[in-house]
């Protein structure tokens, strides 16, 4: 019973935090976009525009709900829901912090410590494309279908390099559990120092999997109007846009957990804090790392132009994939030699 209360409260907490962060990621995106372009961004709703995401949400709810005449109604509604669900599902395996003790009960700050956590990540990421594909196809619009096709081929191409980069990481750490991977990075032994190439590959692939610039060919306005969400309106469109920011948040969390020590930072356990407060500080550190990565996502978006489609495919298959295989072989060779 206590177990279920603990888990359910953790699920609700993580869900809420994810949604709030995604909400404010939209504001951060607009604000930082403005700063990069010498503007000041939205500042009308609340102090410094802090209520802007709320205003956007309300606007989405009051927009007209529109379903095109020849669209497949069931799949049209299913698409954005799938996108959102797949985006939220990844939060289950991310270790947010060290165990904390409440009323004599040890509470793990992770919803499920799967012994195949890394594979679970890869699996859920590969499902994310269904929302886009189904929504794009159900819209009965040529631009949406083109976008769906683009999204799926892009996802498959970059999943390979991503998986191979993960395999090299798993070879280095010797575990598929995210918790154990984070624990192994204790004391400044961050994986990024041992797997720099693997990290770079994973970073690039995360951009591709999250459909962010420069890999946002699926919603390329100049060619495909709005891509897969051309026909969407109201909160269904909101779901698609929201899922993108959740994906960004999750990708940042995964990168900080896998390569940047998660909730560890050097010297955390030498300050002399009690275990609980050290764990809470660790959670804060983890979120700082996530915020840094999210800033990087936004920074890249307002710096780089979009790839052309053939460039995207060449990068994925002819550069990233061989590099990932080389990285994997090199890691295997090295761990055989040293260990």
């Amino acid at each position: 019973m206590l177990f279920w209360i603990e888990k359910i409260s953790l699920v609700v907490l993580v869900f809420c935090v994810t949604l709030v962060i995604a909400m404010y990621a939209t504001l951060a995106e607009r604000k930082f976009a403005a700063f990069f372009q010498d503007r000041i961004g939205p500042d009308r709703a609340g102090p410094f525009g802090l209520l802007q995401p709320l205003a956007d949400g309300i606007k989405f709810f009051f927009k007209e709900e529109f379903i095109p005449a020849n669209a497949d109604r069931f799949l049209f509604v299913l698409g954005p829901c799938l996108s959102m669900i797949a985006a939220c599902m990844t939060t289950a395996v991310i270790p947010w912090g060290h165990d904390i003790v409440i009323f004599g009960q040890t509470m793990a700050l992770q919803i499920a410590d799967l012994n195949v956590g890394v594979l679970y990540l890869a699996g859920v990421v590969s499902l994310g494309v269904y929302g886009i594909m189904i929504g794009g196809w159900a819209s009965n619009n040529k631009y949406s279908v083109l976008s769906a096709i683009r999204a799926s081929s892009q996802m498959i191409s970059y999943e390979l390099a991503m998986g191979l980069a993960l395999i090299a990481l798993v070879m280095h750490t010797g575990s598929l559990s995210l918790r154990e991977i984070v624990q192994a990075q204790h004391g400044g032994h961050w994986n990024v120092f041992f797997q720099p190439l693997g990290f770079l590959l994973f970073l690039i692939c995360s951009f591709a999997e999250a459909n962010r610039v420069p890999f946002d060919l699926a919603e390329c306005e100049t060619e495909l109007v709005g891509g897969y969400h051309t026909e969407y309106s109201s909160m269904k469109l909101g779901f698609y846009l929201f899922a993108e920011y959740i994906n960004m948040f999750i990708a940042s969390a995964v990168m900080s957990a896998l390569y940047f020590g998660g909730y560890h930072f050097p010297g955390l356990y030498h300050i002399g804090l009690s275990d609980n407060s050290a764990a809470l500080v660790g959670v804060g550190v983890f979120f700082l790392k996530i915020a840094a990565f999210m800033f990087f996502f936004i920074w890249i978006r307002w710096t780089l132009p979009r790839f052309r489609y053939d460039q995207l495919m060449r990068l994925g298959w002819k550069i990233l994939l061989p590099l990932a295989i080389a990285n994997m072989i090199f890691t295997g060779f090295l761990s055989l030699l040293l260990g």
């Binding site: 403005a34 700063f35 990069f36 372009q37 010498d38 000041i40 920074w299 307002w302 710096t303």
Partner: protein, 180 residues
């Protein structure tokens, strides 16, 4: 061909070196450029709180002036309507009745004076055409609206108030007109 400016540069379609093909250094360079812009002075003007200073010759919303005694200067001669290239001005003339000397300066006055702000191109030709120095373009902006009807400005909105402190200042326009 002779270059038109010193900024022209000959484009050479050379093959890229390995360093250039790596693409990552270029990305870092780009990131540095955008990061610098983070700290640049922002060009945005927060409009309703801070208003931009107009040029002294700015031509905005029209005003129909009164003379020093508070009588309307306009005599409904129609020169402004004729001069208007956009045909935005409509005038109906009327004769001044006895006892209205304080209201209208001349014996003839405009019973109706309408400017369609959607047609007006704010060229200022009406101002130049006016022999009585009655119509001027000011540094005010035509307010936006959802209805077309709201953009047809009649006398009740165009003529300036009688009270001396509420008069619309057109001294700058007047000055520049004389210069010209």
């Amino acid at each position: 061909m002779h270059p038109l400016s010193s900024r022209s540069r000959v484009v050479v379609n050379k093959t890229m070196t390995f360093w250039e093909r790596l693409y990552l250094p270029a990305i870092v360079g780009g990131l540095w450029i955008t990061f610098r812009h983070f700290f640049y002075k922002k060009v945005t003007i927060r409009y309703p709180e801070i208003k931009r200073i107009f040029s002294p010759v700015y031509r905005g919303l029209h005003v129909l002036k009164r003379d020093d005694l508070g009588a309307e200067r306009c005599t409904a001669c129609g020169l402004c309507a004729v001069a208007c290239p956009a045909e935005a001005i409509t005038i109906d003339a009327a004769e001044r009745k006895p006892g209205e000397e304080g209201l209208y300066r001349e014996e003839k006055y405009a019973a109706k004076y309408e400017i369609n702000m959607l047609r007006c191109i704010f060229c200022g030709l009406c101002e130049e055409a006016c022999p009585k120095q009655a119509v001027y373009l000011t540094d005010r902006i035509v307010p936006s609206s959802f209805e077309r009807q709201d953009f047809i400005w009649g006398k009740e909105k165009l003529v300036e108030p009688v009270e001396p402190e509420k008069r619309v200042d057109v001294s700058i326009r007047h000055y520049f007109q004389k210069e010209a």
